[in-house]
Each structure stands twice: as C-alpha cells, then as structure tokens.
Symmetry: D2
Subunit: 335 residues, 4 copies
C-alpha cells in the first residue's frame, strides 16, 4: 500500500497532468479525483489521454478528500482556503492555485481583489533554504508557472549581486494550456494557431509573486500567448552590477549544481520549450548582451510540468520524505 | 545491474524516443548509442530533450554494440542485415526498420528495390500467437507505424469474417516525425504548419506489410502528412460480410480484451492522436456507416510510441522475459 | 457607386471572410453587416484582421438589409428561410448555410431534423449547366465546404462513367474554422494543436448533399478535424468501371478546362491545403491505385474560400453579371 | 501595358510573396522571375500557391533583368551590389536584403563580415521625411522584418522625447518563414511545432539597423523562433523620460495619423500577428507598465508582408509615382 493522495479540481489541465503523474508514481495511490460540473463522469471521458485509468470524478467536498494523506488542490482562485479549513489537520496540502503564495496581503488585494487568505510555505525547492522548509511543511503553495520560469532564471543573479533588481524586464511566452480549459472564443484553435498575442500588458497578476520569489524590486513583465499547447519560454534581462560583471552562466551553474531538475545548458546551447515537454525540468542559459551590456537569461519549462503539476509532485515528494525526483521525469517528450 | 541494451542509429527521431524509454526503464541499462555523422557528439546536443543523459554517440560498428544483451536497430533501410550478421549470435536484435518485415521477397523488391534480406519474427504482439513467438525469438522485426495503426484496426474484423478483405480502403494521416529527421524542404516548419499533404498516393511501400499483417487482399492506402510532430490517425473501411454484420466494436473489444496497450473506447468516444502522445497505447473505435454499410474503424497511435520505439521496447520486454508493460506508459501526455 | 451588398450573420468565420472579400472587391459596396449578440460592436473588434474597416455590426433584421441589391446569408441552420421571406423580392440572395441545398426533403429531415425549407439554385458553378443557372437565379444556395472538395473531385469521373457511383469512400480532413466560432471545449487550441480527431463517423449530415451534387449512390464519408485554422484535404476513392479505365487525371483536366478556379495539377504534383489559403482555388490530382485498382482523387481547398465565402462571391459575380473571377484570388497565401 | 517589373531571387519565401503581390497588382507586369538552382523550373512547381501563374524561373543574370523598369532583389546577403552594378542605370531597384541598409560601414563589418557595399535610401516610408526620399530615389534598401516591427513601435516615442533611447529592451518572436527556405534540421516541422526557441541571443545582426532606424542608443534585442509560418510580434520597452510621461498611445496615434498601413489600435485592444497575415499592415498598442513605469509598445506585422515583400511593393509604388497602397491589402487573412 502506497501513500494515499487525492486531487481536488482534477478536471482541468493541471489536474489531468497531476493524475497522469500520480498514476505513474511508484509510491502514491490515487484515492480520489474530484470535480465540479464533471463530477460523476469517468476520468477518461474528460481526459482521454488517461484511458485505462478506471476512476470516476467525485464531488469536490471535504468528505471525499479527508481520507487522503495528501491532497493536491487545483481549484479556481479563492476556493482553496475554505476547503483547506474543512479538512483534518493531518492531511497535507499542496495548492497549485495562487491563493496562498503571496506574503504581502496588499499586493494580493491589488491584483486579485478580495481579502488575502494568508501565505503558506512557498513551493519552489530550488530557492535557498526552501527545500528544507517544504520538507517540514504541511501546507505548501506551489509556485505559479510564470514565476517558476522567471525566478529560476533571475534569483541567483540578484542574490549574487551581479544583476540590478530595480529594472528587470521579462517577456514570457506560454502555451495555451496555461490559460486553462474553460471555453473562451480567443482560446479557440482557429484563433491561436498561427498567432502570437500579448495579454494583460502592463499589469499582470503574477508580478508580485515574481518579485517576492526572485528579489526583483522593479519588474516589467509581458506575457504572450503562443501557438502550442504547452511550454513557457521566458526571456529575462537585467542591468549588470559593477564594471566587471561575473559570467552569468557560471553563477547559475553554481546555484543549481545540486538541483536535479534545473539544467544550465552547455555554453552555446539555448533552451527551447519542446525539450521540456512532459518533464519536470527547467533549462537555462545566459549571456551578456553585446550592445546594451544587460544580462540575458532564457529559461524553458513545461508550464504543466515544472510550472504546475510536476512542481507540485516534487513538493509532495519532499513533504512525504521521498526522494525529490520520485515519479518525475527529467527528460522531455520530443519531437 | 540491469540488462545491457544498445541503440544503433540513435540520432534520429525513433532513436531518440528509444533512448528516452530506455532511460526511464527500470530493468534496462543503456550501454551504447551509436550514430553516423553525429558520432562523437553528446547525445543531449542532438536530442536536447535528453539533457541530463550523460552519454556520447559511438560509431555504428559491431565492436561498439557486441557487448550488449539486446540491440535496437534504428537504421536506414538496407543496413540492418549486414550489421546483424556481424554481431554475436547471442545478442538479441529488435529492428525498427523495414528490412526484415516482409515474408514475400518479390513484394520487397517491387517496393524497395534490391534483394530481400529475409524475414524475422514479426513484432506485433497483439496478433494471434505473436506474443509467444516474439518471446522465444532472438531476431524481431518491429511493425511499421502505418502497419500498426491499420492492422490493429483491421485484422480482427477480417479474422472474424465480418469484413471483406478484398476492398479495404485506408486513409492515414501522420505527424511529421514519421518522415524522419533529414532536412528536406517540404518538411520545413514553414511548409508543414497549416498544411495537409498526401504523398506516395496509389503506391506506398507499406502496402505489402499491411496486407501481410492484416490479411487484407485488396488495399487502397493513402498516407497524408499532417501539421503536428507526432501521431497517426488511420481511418480504415471495409465492406461488411453477410446481411447481418456483427457489431464491429464488439469484435475488436473481444480481440483485445487482454492486450494492455490496445484500448477499444467506450461507445460514442472516438480516438484522437493527442491522447496517445508519448504512450505505447493504441485507441480504437468502430461503427457501421449508415449510408454505405461499410465498417469503419478509426485507430490512433503515437507513431514514435506504439508505431516505433514503444513497440520495440514492448517486443524487447517479451524477448527478455519481462512483463510486457515494463517501462512503457499507457497514458498519453496531453494537452 | 458600386453594387450594394450586405452580409447577414457576419460575426462568424465565413462572415468575416466575406467582409474581407467584399472590402477588396472592385464592384461591390458593403452597406451593412449584421450580427446577433455582437450587434453594436465595431466590426474590427470582432474581426481584428479587418482593422481599418470602419463599420459597426447592425442587427440581423429585414430593415437593415432590405436596401441592398444582394444579401449574403451566413446564418445558423434554419434561419435563412424566415429572413429571406421578409426581404423584398428584388433583393438577390446567396445563402452560405445548408437550408436550401437539398432537393430531397426527406434527406433533410433525416440529417437535420425539422421540415425542409425548399431548394434554391445550387451554387457550384463548375457543375455542368450550373454556371448558367446561377447567372439567372435570384436565390442561390452556395455549396457546403466538404461538398465542394468532394464533388469537384468526383463528379466528372461519375459523369464520364469511369468510376462506379455505388461504393465511394471519402476521408476529408478540415481545419478548425470549419467547426465555427462558438466556444466549445473540444475546439480549444490546447485540444486541437497536435491532434487529429474524427467526428460524426458513419453518419455526417453532408452525405446527402455530396450524393446529390456528385451523383454518388453509395458513400462512406469520414470527416477529420485537423490542427490548422483553414483548409480541406479530401481523399476520394471509387472503384473503376470496365477493364481499361480511363486515366482519371485526363477526365478531370477536360472537365475543368474552362474553370478559372479549378486546377488539375501537372502529373506528379499533389494538392496540399496551404497552397490554397485565402484563395478561391481548388487543386486536384488523380491516379489509379496500384494494388486495389481504385481511382484516387485528392482535392484541396480553403474551406472559408472556395468552401464558403469565395464560392459565395463567385456565385454573386455570376448573378450580378460580373466576370466570375472579379475580386477573387486564384493564388494562395503561403507559406 | 503596365510597368515592367522583375524579381531576382524569386524562389525563396520573400520572393514568392513578391510574385503573389505583383500578380495581383493592377499596374505592374511581371516580366521575369529569376533563381539559382531552380532556374528552368516552373514557378508553380516551387511555389504551389501560385498555381495558375504560367512562368518559368530564369537565371539570375543581368541580361534577364535589364529590360525591366524596376527590379526587386531578394538575394542572399552580399549579392546585391554586384548585380546592381551590372544593370542599366535607368532600372529602379528595391533591395529586400541587408546589403545596403546600414550607413555605418563599421557596424556592417562587425555583424556581417566583409566590406560594406554602401547605403541606399532606407525603405521605411513611415519615418519622417522618408516617404518623399523614397519617391525620388532609384535605389532603395527595404527595411528588415525585425527592424520594421521594432522601429515603427519605438521611433515616435524617441523622437517625441517621451522614452529614453539608452536602455531599450526588445523581445521579438517571428514565424519560421523569417529563417528562410534552406533546409536546416532545426527548422524542420517536427522541431518547430510546439516549440519556442531563442537564437543569436546577445548579438543579433539586426541591432545596428534597428538603432539607426529608431534612434535607440542602447538596445537589448532577443529574437525568438515561434511555431507559425508567418508573423512577428515585438514587445518593445523603454524607460520613460520625465515625471509625467505622455500617454505613449497618443504619441503613436499622432505619428501615424496619415500612414495607411500603420494602425494604432483602440485602447484595450492589443496587436496579434494573425490579424496581419498576408497584409501590409502593422498593428500597434502601447501602455505604461504599472510596476516598473517602463513604456511598453507591442507591434505585429506579417514578416513577409510589411516585413519584406509588402514593404518592398509599397516602396516601389512610391518610386513609380503610384498611390502608396496600390495592390496591397490593409486587411489580413484570418482566422
């Protein structure tokens, strides 16, 4: 008998990826997957890629979930706190939503509206000290997809003092699954194929999370929707500090020497998203811009992998005392 | 220590997928991966999705491969026989190429030219008796991608006598990885995105293999290149036999009741390729056409999974006495 | 002053393409574009590709349209008849919907339900005699997208008696715009990219139209949704008649010698959809299958061009006494 | 009889688009299209979208081109100067390549190597004074695709003194046709679909052109290859000047009030590439970043339209005394 886990809100894209990872995980037993309007449906009718998984969606209610050792929450914004409060204290929780990521309640209110539900342990194991913090936590707020891609690229350069935190510029393009599964006209295949479109330009709600996680103090962040189902490519630039900037690639390589999922590529090779598909890996590369002198770091992840479900399983592994990499793939599915 | 395996011709797309599957396989140890022009290159420089796999391509020579318990051959047409002859008899071989699939030498010569190298045990475990034959074989010719998709859809209907073998019509669309990795202008992204293009219309070299494997005696087969990296969707139609045709879905369900990778979907759900991405699964559904009375079966596979590398690993598992499903996924990576 | 035209139901994909074609047409003046829920919106807010077109959607009401010389109807099924009845007799109508295509009321009821609104002149100018019929008609039902692609490939072979009409098998893949603009989950970009999915297998509502237009008496028609915004590729096969079948390519070339938009490609070149993007062209090629002897014809069109809006403008040109090609492009936008 | 034009180097993607535009242009007659290895081939065999255009590629030699009133040069880098020198002085030239864009010979040598061939009149009619300059020029160097997208977004803000020129950061993603038609493995459909990949990070050869054209003095420019055939989306940011920055959208709207192809979108609507497909339009929108205060401008073009062939025809129209918009479309082909 393995460790009993459940997924609340399992009918969306991150939920489906969680179910896939749990089904292939050698130590986890899936005891429940819940949904709202899809409750009562076979999981494989909603997620045809999980054909062979013989399970029916339950309702997202405490009674369905209380029996698990650990529950993944993949719920819409604002629904995590109430459900968490209704579950027994002994049930570990990993929240894939944004509700418990920010420590600054005012920032929450500014970007999301409403009152803040309070911060949980921040689920980015690669940040200094965070692996240990997650391992002892019972409530973890997994990092958002854009914040993963940006923070892994940026945080070591700011921590090492080689990049200036006050004028960071990020342009990050994401596959469409990052926009979720609700049927909106601008997300139709006819609209997104052959198209690149920016959105929430000038004021994206992930800005405070990225600043909190990375240490940036001034951040221009522009997200772009790209014609592919998965993947985030973040181009992160920051001004250098001092006259003789350290080689940024070396700073990153040192920071992630022991991180099994973060790969600073050999010099000359740049990250691209397809190489991370289906994996929990983040690929990084960095250089100094010849003309402007800015440090440029490019990071690539699978937004549903290291950006969501993979990250959540990685946190769960740590919380459960399992090796961090259990049930997760370093390798992507390509081409 | 696991079972020692090697991949000859590992720089192509099927080769890369083999390396990915072997790296995640709990019983196999990869001892060599060879290539031609890429020999000496790090594997991850050629297959960036395998970043973290610390291996350099060797040369495709007997000495590099002779030490393995089993060698996967992912070579261009016509190169398998010579390499096989130069390897010790004790080395098991699974050939992903077409060289040893056909029992009819004349058919080989007609479609491929040159003299036929002789047939090996045909690597489609789901055919009657074939699972046992593969388990005792030392030389297996894994099924071609179009033949997998078509034969799994068709063979049970012909064997059961509910469909006529002499007027089978198949249209099968494939992702571009099926066309290989050599850089040809018509395979450029600029050409294939937004495009569907038929090729080798009226005389495709896979026709004799499909006829041999499925039992069809008259076959119109039209392949189409589709704008996606992976996946085959085959639409297979055949005239019904008799006045009261059996329900084709039931015939298929019975035939594959014990096949772990072939899923006859619940009535009303039709296969689509994305649900099989990265998996070794084949999804099937069937009906009787209201207007023409023809039986219609649709099958979906990942051409690099069940259509190539996954199939090859499935055969290797059987040859090595391992459970058929070891190291292979039933679930796809979607969306 | 040009000829006054209007588009009823202009907020969908076919409607948008009509507006684009009319805006570039040297003889037509757009006097109204109507919509339902989008009425009151600027056209360019709904169709950003028409930025620069300074027009607001009106309501789909007779009063808004009655002033035009010709009205294009791009309405949901079942809405054309009532609107047509409410417009003055002198207003010419081209219906892009299915309401008035079928001459067989029973077939209508079987596939669409409800009672049939009656047939109008069938809008496929390339059928024998049809160009003249359209030129004198005031009510034209433009051909459906799948029917265009299939009929242009098939009708000449059946008319010439070289192919048998009773066992026609068609598999046709379409870009997603053919499924319309209403936001349904299975049409999301995340679902369709990287995917091929069949639908309405065994009983598609376009079967009676294709039979009526092409002369087929037995038809297996399987439509497939393909990961691209536009384009239809139809693979049409039929048994040969007689022992010495005519060369099918020659039959087609002769049939379309005077058709400005139908191109039978030089031997050896096969149609592909991208070459027709944005144009009103249909590309055709044919051969005899080596194994089965079946005749195989492949046709490619832009489903919104020759399959919808282009076809409708071609019909309008004929009805208005203009050269058939006015304002339409033979050339596609590629790559 | 129209004006006689020819295209040198017409077998590539920009060349094909030029042929399409010329074929639809009411005042231009195409008298020759030349190529290197494709000389002697029918144009439609190389560009199937031009089926119906009855023309064979000539050789790229002065004798084939000397008879034209205007020649478009779509040649590889470094080949324009020699051909131009061999043509009669009376032949007007529009070069789509980079050879004659830069006024700074040292910058040319640094990024391209070799000696500089000298600057021609810069072909961006929307820059102040440039429309008149082009109208009287006989030699015009059309703007590069990335430079079009970036300069149109940036130049008015720098000219108006509302943005600082010394810390401009640009991330621009392009469809694959921008990388040309030579068959390279990383441009295969299997590689680019589902993928975003940066390239030439930190030192792109278009940096000096963008600085020269826009007035930027410090520029970080990162190009990204996106999974679509056409389109560029440029995200351009610059620090504000002064404490009360002007509304950047208003500055742009004023600058382009009379430019028929540059559309500053209504507030709230952001550019996306699909809306410009096949057109000569550039869509722009701007805002001030809430967190960083940076000005952000996003521009979208078709890289083969306003970014190459469309721009070249626009310049040719001016040079020939035709209305600037003749034969060019403001509207895109979408979806």
């Amino acid at each position: 008998m393995g460790i009993r886990v459940a997924v609340a809100g399992a009918s969306g894209y991150a939920g489906g990826e969680l179910l896939r990872l749990i089904a292939g995980h050698p130590e986890l037993d899936l005891v429940a997957a819940t949904a709202h309007s899809q409750a009562g449906q076979p999981v494989a009718a909603v997620h045809p890629q999980l054909t062979g998984l013989d399970l029916v969606f339950g309702r997202t209610e405490p009674a369905v979930l209380a029996d698990a050792d650990l529950v993944f929450l993949a719920l819409p914004h604002g629904e995590s706190a109430a459900l968490a409060a209704a579950l027994p204290d002994g049930v570990r929780l990993v929240d894939l939503g944004a509700d418990h990521r920010l420590t600054d309640a005012a920032a929450w209110t500014r970007y999301y509206g409403g009152s803040h539900a309070g911060a949980w342990t921040y689920g980015l194991p690669e940040l200094p000290g965070q692996r240990a913090a997650i391992a002892t936590a019972t409530r973890v707020a997994a990092t958002g997809c854009y914040a993963v891609a940006t923070t892994l690229a940026l945080a070591p350069l700011l921590a090492a003092g080689v990049a200036a935190p006050d004028d960071v510029v990020v342009v990050a393009a994401s596959g469409t699954s990052g926009a979720g599964r609700s049927a909106k006209p601008h997300l139709l295949g006819s609209e997104v194929m052959g198209d690149l479109s920016p959105y929430k330009v000038g004021a994206h709600q992930h800005v405070p999370e990225i600043k909190q996680a990375s240490g940036a103090t001034g951040l221009s962040f522009t997200p772009v929707l790209a014609p592919m189902p998965r993947g985030i490519l973040a181009t992160v630039t920051a001004p250098p500090v001092g006259d003789n900037p350290a080689e940024p690639r070396e700073v990153l390589a040192q920071a992630y020497a022991d991180a099994p999922f973060v790969h600073v590529l050999p010099a000359g090779r740049w990250p691209h998203t397809a190489a991370t598909l289906g994996s929990n890996s983040c690929h990084l590369q960095a250089t100094v811009d010849v003309d402007s002198g800015r440090l440029i770091v490019v990071s690539a992840i699978d937004n549903l992998g290291k950006g969501a479900a993979g990250q959540a399983v990685q946190c769960a592994n740590l919380m459960l005392g399992l090796p961090e990499t259990t049930g997760l793939s370093v390798h992507g599915v390509a081409p």
